[in-house]
């Protein structure tokens, strides 16, 4: 059976509720790192962590540069920085141009995560009102990773999942709750 090393997820408009719902499905037995890019205003940051922490027992934190990525942790990209992953499984940050009018951009995270984790990566695209994440999800698929997309009719803002589906033949198209339960069934690599 296929084994996994990380999950990356992206969302935009409607993302707060979506992520909280997703986290609520993940029990403490979830043994993968979950790395999230969410388009936010600078000010939303601090409130967000309190809100998310109230929906899960997993540790939710802002991803910081050079930090080692650990299983069972939930990381959220800091506002106004792109989040990338290095081969030694640490984070790096960049202030380069916005991508799809966004910084952080979901595509940037997904592409660098696909380079590092290859087939051991699962990518998730949730609600949003733009098309960030579509190309990144395609890269995950091309590298042999697993692709999950929220069923557009069930998303608060369907455009982002819809764009992803136009770009990628996703492995699973599910509601958020189902995505959460599905992630719980992924087998972590033995090293975790």
């Amino acid at each position: 059976m296929k084994k996994y090393r990380a999950v990356v997820a992206g969302c935009s408009a409607g993302g707060m509720q979506a992520v909280a719902t997703l986290l609520a499905q993940l029990g403490t037995s979830f043994r993968l790192p979950l790395i999230i890019v969410q388009h936010l205003h600078r000010e939303q940051g601090e409130y967000l962590f309190r809100f998310y922490s109230s929906s899960t027992h997993l540790k939710v934190q802002e991803a910081s540069e050079r930090e080692k990525i650990l299983p069972g942790n939930v990381y959220v990209a800091p506002p106004d920085y792109h989040l990338l992953i290095e081969h030694d499984e640490t984070f790096s940050l960049s202030v380069e141009e916005k991508v799809n009018f966004c910084r952080p951009s979901i595509d940037v995270l997904f592409e660098s995560a696909a380079d590092v984790y290859g087939p051991a990566l699962a990518g998730v695209v949730l609600t949003g009102a733009n098309s960030d994440g579509a190309l990144g999800l395609k890269r995950i698929k091309d590298c042999g990773g697993l692709t999950l997309v929220q069923r557009p009719e069930t998303a608060q803002f369907p455009e982002m999942p819809r764009s992803a589906l136009l770009c990628v033949h996703a492995d699973q198209v599910l509601t958020i709750e189902e995505i959460g339960r599905f992630l719980m069934t992924l087998k972590p690599e033995a090293a975790y």
């Binding site: 081969h87 790096s92 960049s94 380069e96 141009e97």
Partner: protein, 283 residues
């Protein structure tokens, strides 16, 4: 071998070629970002693989300039992170005022936005006549823009908003004049800054600085290079001098090393100790 592994070899060779041919050392830059920049460059230039870039780079210095531009990410802004500038005013300026003259270094100044912000701040705090600002970067194109002090008009709203949040004493519009689609910074401000090419990886220390800003530059360096550059910055500071990093940068060389005090941890402002730990006793 996967295509990713192949690409990794090609990138190693390319960075080696660039270093030996042009003396610019990007081998210790954070890889994920280098990979991204190279792929963008490939896309723009219609070249199929990183390997194919190598002969072109070796034989066409003009193409190397493009690579240099692609590698140095010059995104910046005036009074970016206004809270940081506010903290400078509140926590650092009062101490700077105790010196008859201060020297300031903006390392990795991109197109000069941060240096002008600082020049404005020092002027408003009455320090302009007693200070020199050096602003350096490896990117000559960016330095040329910085010297001109010309920025797109469409940025002004954001700059003004940032400025207003930085605890100002005046109005931002006093510092530039607008024409057509751009703004030009006042001549007086321009005169207060010396822009120059300086490479943090390979060039020497700057002596006797009272304040150094090196923000969002070392995030592109690997650990070892970052530590090396931190040592360089540190030896460029006077004792009691201030070092400021980007708001999401971790200071690994540490404040617990007895050499630095944290002035504002959120805004990443540090002060080099006047006396090192234990030193007082031996004298």
């Amino acid at each position: 071998m996967t295509s990713g592994e192949l690409e990794a070899i090609e990138i190693d060779l390319l960075l080696e070629a660039v270093f030996r041919r042009y003396g610019y050392d990007f081998r210790s830059y954070a890889r994920a970002s280098v990979v991204r920049r190279l792929r963008l460059l490939l896309e723009q230039s219609g070249i199929a693989s990183v390997g194919e870039l190598i002969p072109k780079l070796l034989h066409e210095p003009a193409f190397f300039q493009e690579l240099l531009f692609a590698f140095s990410i010059t995104v910046s802004g005036m009074f970016r992170d206004p809270e940081f500038f506010r903290s400078l005013r509140e926590n650092v300026v009062p101490l700077l005022k105790t010196y008859p003259f201060i020297r300031v270094w903006v390392a990795g100044c991109a197109c000069g936005e941060e240096a002008y912000s600082l020049a404005i701040l020092l002027k408003e705090e009455g320090l302009a006549a007693h200070s020199t600002i050096y602003a350096t970067d490896i990117n000559d194109q960016a330095l040329a823009v910085a010297k001109e002090g010309i920025y797109p008009l469409r940025q002004v709203r954001e700059y003004t908003e940032n400025y207003q949040k930085s605890g100002p004493h005046d109005s931002f519009s006093r510092y530039y004049h607008a024409s057509h689609d751009h703004i030009v910074m006042n001549r007086e401000l321009k005169k207060s800054i010396t822009f120059a090419n300086h490479n943090l990886v390979s060039d020497h220390v700057f002596a006797e600085m009272h304040l150094i800003l090196c923000r969002n530059v070392m995030i592109y360096f690997d650990r070892e290079l970052k530590d090396r550059v931190l040592r360089l910055l540190d030896s460029s500071l006077i004792r009691g001098g201030f070092l400021c990093l980007g708001t999401k940068e971790s200071l690994r060389f540490s404040c617990g090393d007895g050499r630095h005090d944290e002035i504002d941890s959120k805004n990443r402002i540090y002060r080099k100790r006047v006396l090192e730990a234990g030193e007082g006793r031996t004298r």
